[in-house]
Subunit: 606 residues, 2 copies
């Protein structure tokens, strides 16, 4: 019944309703969604919510309300969220053209995936191995499907809700996922799925899966970069953009003006660093150096690991040094004038060697065939010797730095020489060195003493003034507990909340996300994965305690976060309340973090 009919049927209730609507909309200063009933002539207001809107509409409405003088920019910031901005940045499907819409399921993990339908984890791995993009289709997934989910561009299931295995695991790994598409009849044996209207999709047919809306098409729908991303990339001037782009431009500018928490990026390559800078990062909060040991440099790392004496080790390090220096020179150029925080090598060295099981099988089969593989045997002996039961809890991070002679010295020298080169070329490099996995201040003091010596040597050799602050990750519970002592040797703290979450809970992300997180979400142990959003009660308590003790011991100590939580809205608000200085996140999340840093300041102001 149109609302105007009520005016004639029951004028008194109608007047009452108009009054309530006015009151609510004045109170909320927003569009309201009101439920009411009239029983025997009496008006009952059943429920009121601020009206739902699409992410784009949220930005546009907020900006318009500012223009109309209804709200101010602070209030506008309160009305948009980082999640909405993230949605505006996902690639989206364009015009479906000739593709057939098959069904609509639950939008379990956003994104746009196009690929060939496969019906088993093994097939997903096999097809992806041939270079095909695939969409894994299952009734529901189990931990056994993990390899297939990793191999696939997207996941589609006919059963299960937002906390189903498929949904949780896909969100955790950033895979597009539509789940609970109940109209689909998935026949795993026949390797086909039947959609409403009798449309049959067979293995190898192309599917398009929209994790943002839940829609699924047979055929390839073109994927388009979002206008908001083109704006952040600098490819689209705000004035040339649509209302959404203009609203985003305006609100993120206000967020930057209000934010007390700085936003940096996790970036390992000059390309990532440049994008982070375009997206508004104020520096690199985490540059991992392990990727610099991969690819064509693997043989040098193998040489380093297999070295039987100091001379062999020194030779391998000497060969790696100029490559490392080049990496840093390019990074400092991309981030000229902004801080670049370089984390010394963290992963165990055996991660750069072949897998024990694969190599064992290879060598055993070769022997069975009477091939004598001397290099394989020598490598296998090294892999066996260095094999660890629990590599995450083994010889890594600062321990590696203290046990492998010359490794950290080589890295620090490469940083210092790269900075000296940039200075000579008229640049303004701002290197910082960060020591991983510190558990006790002595570890940090030992590395610091050597690093300071190397930096001073390079400064003297090159005749330049070098300032390289040395700080530490806080990612081991003991480091958080003894942060007061550690601050004595650290010029900054960076909370590695991924490792800190793993150690505080005692589980490794790789092993548990598929194995029991879905069950834990279903049974109410978690409301959300502690890897997605910071566990405030446990891990957060350690962050607060460490930040407070660190600052008490060293007033003005800079504190930041470089775990993935640095890009999560809820977590950003927590870090802002804890008084941290920076968060660092992946380049693509930088705008989201900027917006939320501004919102956190506005919300804290009340």
């Amino acid at each position: 019944m149109p609302l105007t009919d009520l005016a004639t049927l029951d004028a008194r209730s109608f007047a009452g309703l108009r009054e309530v609507m006015r009151l609510l909309e004045e109170h909320y200063r927003d569009l309201c969604d009101i439920e009411f009933t009239i029983e025997r002539g009496r008006l009952w207001i059943l429920q009121n919510r601020v009206g739902k809107r699409t992410p784009g509409a949220a930005f546009v409405i907020a900006a318009q309300l500012v223009d109309e003088g209804v709200i101010d920019l602070d209030e506008a910031l309160r009305r948009v969220t980082g999640d909405q901005l993230a949605h505006l940045m996902f690639p989206a499907f364009g015009d479906a053209g000739g593709a057939v819409e098959l069904t609509r399921g639950m939008n379990a993990s956003p994104g746009a995936a196009v690929g060939r339908a496969v019906f088993s984890s093994a097939a997903a791995v096999e097809w992806a191995g041939r270079g095909e993009d695939v969409v894994l289709v299952r009734r529901e997934t189990t931990p056994d499907d993990l390899a297939g989910m990793i191999a696939a561009r997207g996941v589609l299931t006919s059963r299960g809700g937002r906390t189903s295995h498929a949904a949780v695991v896909a969100r955790g790994m950033g895979r597009t996922c539509v789940c609970g598409a109940e109209e689909l009849d998935v026949d795993l044996e026949a390797r086909q799925v039947t959609a409403p209207g009798g449309v049959v999709v067979r293995e190898g047919d192309v599917l398009s899966v929209d994790g943002t809306t839940g829609r699924v098409w047979l055929g390839a729908v073109p994927v388009e970069t979002s206008a908001v991303v083109r704006y952040f990339e600098g490819e689209l001037a705000p004035e040339d953009g649509d209302d959404v782009v203009q609203a985003v431009h305006r609100l993120i500018g206000h967020a930057d003006a209000r934010a007390r928490l700085g936003v940096e990026a996790n970036a390992d390559t000059p390309a990532d660093a440049a994008r982070a800078r375009r997206f508004g990062a104020r520096g690199i909060g985490l540059c991992r150096t392990e990727h610099m040991f991969l690819g064509e440099r693997r043989p040098l790392v193998e040489q380093l690991v297999l070295a039987e004496d100091d001379a062999g080790r020194e030779a391998a390090l000497a060969a790696l040094a100029p490559l490392q220096r080049q990496d840093f020179t390019e990074l400092f150029a991309a981030m000229d004038g902004l801080p670049v925080t370089i984390r010394l090598l963290d992963p165990p060295l055996h991660e750069f060697l072949p897998d024990l099981t694969e190599l064992s099988v290879e060598v055993a089969v070769a022997e069975e065939q009477h091939h004598h593989d001397a290099r394989g045997l020598r490598l296998l002996a090294a892999v066996r010797r260095m094999h660890e039961q629990n590599p995450m809890l083994g010889l890594r991070g600062v321990r590696l730095g203290l046990v492998v002679p010359g490794l950290y010295r080589m890295q620090v020298r490469a940083v210092a020489e790269a900075a000296a080169e940039r200075i000579a070329a008229g640049g303004d490099p701002r290197p910082q060195v960060m020591v991983p996995l510190v558990a006790t201040v002595t570890e940090l003091e030992l590395v610091r003493a050597e690093a300071e010596r190397v930096v001073a040597e390079v400064a003297a050799e090159r005749g330049v003034e070098l300032r390289v602050p040395i700080g530490t990750m806080i990612e081991v519970p003991r480091a958080a507990l003894t942060a007061g002592e550690i601050a004595g040797a650290a010029e900054f703290f960076s909370f590695g909340t991924n490792d800190l979450t793993q150690l505080t809970w005692g589980f490794s992300r790789d092993d548990v996300e598929a194995a029991f997180f879905p069950a834990y979400l279903q049974r109410g142990v978690f409301a959300v994965s502690p890897f997605e959003s910071l566990d405030r009660t446990g891990v957060g308590a350690l962050v607060e305690l460490a930040a407070a003790r660190g600052r008490a011991a060293r007033p003005g100590l800079r504190t930041g976060v470089c775990g993935e939580h640095g890009g999560d809205p809820e977590s950003i608000h927590f870090f802002a309340r804890a008084g941290l200085d920076d968060v660092s996140c992946s380049p693509f999340r930088v705008p989201v973090a900027r917006l939320e840093a501004g919102r956190a300041a506005v919300l804290a102001a009340g």
Copy 2:
């Protein structure tokens, strides 16, 4: 020069010295070791220490001073230590007979080892595999020697001191070790060692190595059980023992009377439980249930793991149930009237399956030989599926209990039924159920609800009254941090300080003791391994915090320790100061813990 000559040479200095000696010995009420010099007629006292004595002498002198009325029993307790008692309990070499004493090195890790000399880790593993006792002889050891050290009864090196790799690793694993026997010329190539006087020991010759004194013989010296152990075993009445046994008897009795910290034992079998009881344990603080899934029961566990549906899993659990019940019945009988704390299954299930690498090689080689091993392939698929990158941080403990249907229910039912059987037979069983690896109170609440239901069911079925307190391990940092919440669902706390140390520091004992602990000890990062003696600053802070929050939330909450630190003197004093109720340690360490618990009370009293 005899001291009496001084009286004639310099009567004045002599008189002064006598006076100082009297003062010092009165002050220390103990035998003193005084260094002095006389320079131009003036007496200088350079140093004074309480005189050193053997462990046996320490007990005997303390008891005699009590008899002479010089000190009281409290003071006597202050003058002996748990380490001394531990030394008195080691097996010792008897009369060397025809064995030739070769040399004397550093007594790096106590004990008496007899075995055939081998000169490489590989040889140690090979000979031990044939059932031979071996002594591993090296110039010094490296992480590559770990397998050989595990296989050997004792380790002998010609180089390195008390913080050398050999010494640290041997102490950590409880292997007898003599290191730095520099008179020995070890020739690894020729596989022989030459001792002073030209005596040559070849591979296969029998050596006797005394880790307590540092002595090494060629030939087998008979090993004797210590009289103190025979006294604790009840084989030797105190009045039939020597002075040492009588002194130990007297002082440990006083320690028990004074102690506020109770001593329990970690025991998994009736035989261990019975020994623990003879050694004075007041209960079982930790009964691990994993050993109950090994040996002839492996096929049932394999069946449980490989089960493809609920029916298969239920059948495997039903077959395991009576065996578990029998285990508990025997344990309750051995500990009648004393608490027995049963920890529900902790290790990941894949630990009960074959090793991934070994099985992969086996299956690949079989295929190469054109044997089709269907069972092997099926098992391999399961092992691969369940393989974890970091099993210590994977699907284990309470997570396993919540994810594998029926597993904990079966275990709790076996506990309850065993208790009911003992009650029916007139016994007094005191079962307690302990949940491992809890990180959040919800996990504990879920297990608790099911366990309480099962206990009530069994009580109703058997018509007996059953009381089974349910508590939790505190071994994950998050559990310590949220102990206030967790206490709401726990009738007792038991600190698992091994896991708590691993997670608080972020390293696993298996992976790091050989890999970098020796370097850390040498570089001063640790003074002692945190697995040997509790790290008070980091791990200890979590223990104190959790105990305090737990007791605040639940007054009267019992708190104990069941990690290996429960048997370490320094750690016991810390736990006593933290106000814990019990420590639980290996049966053999129970007397040491009893003595130290008494000493802690006396020292606290000032």
